[in-house]
Subunit: 208 residues, 2 copies
Amino acid sequence: MNRLAPALLQPRKAPRQARSAVTIDAIHTATIQVLLAEGVSRLTTTRVAVRAGVSVGTMYQYYPHKQALLFAIVERQLQSITAAMVTAAERLMGQDLATVAEGLALAWLDAKTADRVASLAIYSIAAEFDLGEVMGRTMRQMTEVIAALLAGATDARGIDPEVAAFMLAAMLGGSVRVVMETGSSDDDLARLRRELPRACQAYLAAVN
Amino acid sequence: MNRLAPALLQPRKAPRQARSAVTIDAIHTATIQVLLAEGVSRLTTTRVAVRAGVSVGTMYQYYPHKQALLFAIVERQLQSITAAMVTAAERLMGQDLATVAEGLALAWLDAKTADRVASLAIYSIAAEFDLGEVMGRTMRQMTEVIAALLAGATDARGIDPEVAAFMLAAMLGGSVRVVMETGSSDDDLARLRRELPRACQAYLAAVN
DNA sequence: ACCTGAACACCGTTCAAGT
DNA sequence: ACCTGAACACCGTTCAAGT
C-alpha cells in the first residue's frame, strides 16, 4: 500500500523539443494498446517500449516508473468521465429532483459503458497500484457537482445537499462498478439502467 | 485478464498426513500476515514461505501458483460475509420491506467493516488477479438470499423480487466498496450507515 | 537534449535430489 | 509422502555510453 507523493506520478519532464512530445504520445498510446491487447498481467515496460518504438531507457526518462504510465491513463479516463458529468450537470441545473436524479444516473451509465473496455481496464489497474487517492479525489469532485445540482433543484426543501450528494455518488459509482466487474451480462446492464434511476429518485424523494 | 479454470485455483492436493495439514495452515496464515504487514506489492512467494517456515518448493506443492494462495484467502473472507448475511436473512424472514431493507443494509455494513483491513486487502487483490468470477458468484448468492427475503415480506405486493434483489445487491456491495476504497474517513462511514438503509428502504417502497 | 541497451536486483516457478 | 533450494526465465529500473 505504498502511497506515493502525487508529484512522483507525474511525467518526469515536460517535452522541450518536438520529437519528445511525439515520443511521450507514442508511449501513452502504446500503453493503452498493450493493455487492451494483452491484459494487465502482460503489460510490461519492455513490451510497451517495443510497441512505442523506443527503448526502455527512453520511457524512464518521461515516466519515473510503471505506475506513472498507468496513472496517466487512469487520470485521462477519469477526467473524461468527470467532463461528461459536468456537461450533464449544466443541462440539469434548475430542474426538479426527480429529473436531476434520472439525468445523473443515465449520464453516469453512459459515461461508464461508452468505453466499457477502458473502464474495466481502469478497475483492473486500480487496486494493483494505489489509485485510491485519485479515485477519491474524483469522487469528491463528483460529489460537489451533484451537491450544487441538488441545492439548485426547484423542489429542494428539507434535503441536505452535501449528505444526499455523498450517498448518490456512492450509489452511482458503486453499483455500476460492481455490475461491470462481476462478469455482467448485457441483461444485467439493461436492468441497472432501468433500476438505478428509480433508486436515485426514490432516495432523493425520501430525504427531501 | 487470463481467466483460469476454477480447478486450477484450488489447493493442489488434499493433506494425507497430519504434518501437511499443519503446513497448509501455516502457509495460509503466513499469507495473511505478510499481506497485512507489508501490503500486496511486497507479498512475495519467498516472503510467505519464510514466514511460514517452509521452502518455496513446499508451497508450490499445495498451491499451484501465487494466485491460488490469494484466492484461498479471498474465498474464505467472502464465505464469512455470506454466512453473516444468511444469518441476518433468517432473522429478517417474514418482516415488512422497510425492516428487511434496513436489516440488510446494516448487516452488510457490519460484515464489511468488522474486518476492514481484511476487506481492503481483498479489494486490493481483487483486480490484480481475475477475481471477477468469484465475486460474481458471491453476488449471485447474495441476490438469491435477498430475493427470497423480499418475496416473503409481509407487505410485498407489486415488487419483482428478482429485479429488486439485483438492484439492492448492487447498491449495497457498490456503495460500501467505493466508500471504503476511496480513503474514507470515519465520518464517511457513519454517513453511509445512516443513509444506506434509507436509500434501500426508499427504493423498495418505490418499486412495490 | 535526447536516446540506447547491457547490467543488476528481484520475482514466480520448476525439478533433481534428499529424508 | 513430503520437503529442499539452486536454477531458470522474466520483470522493473538504472546508468555509462552514444547521437
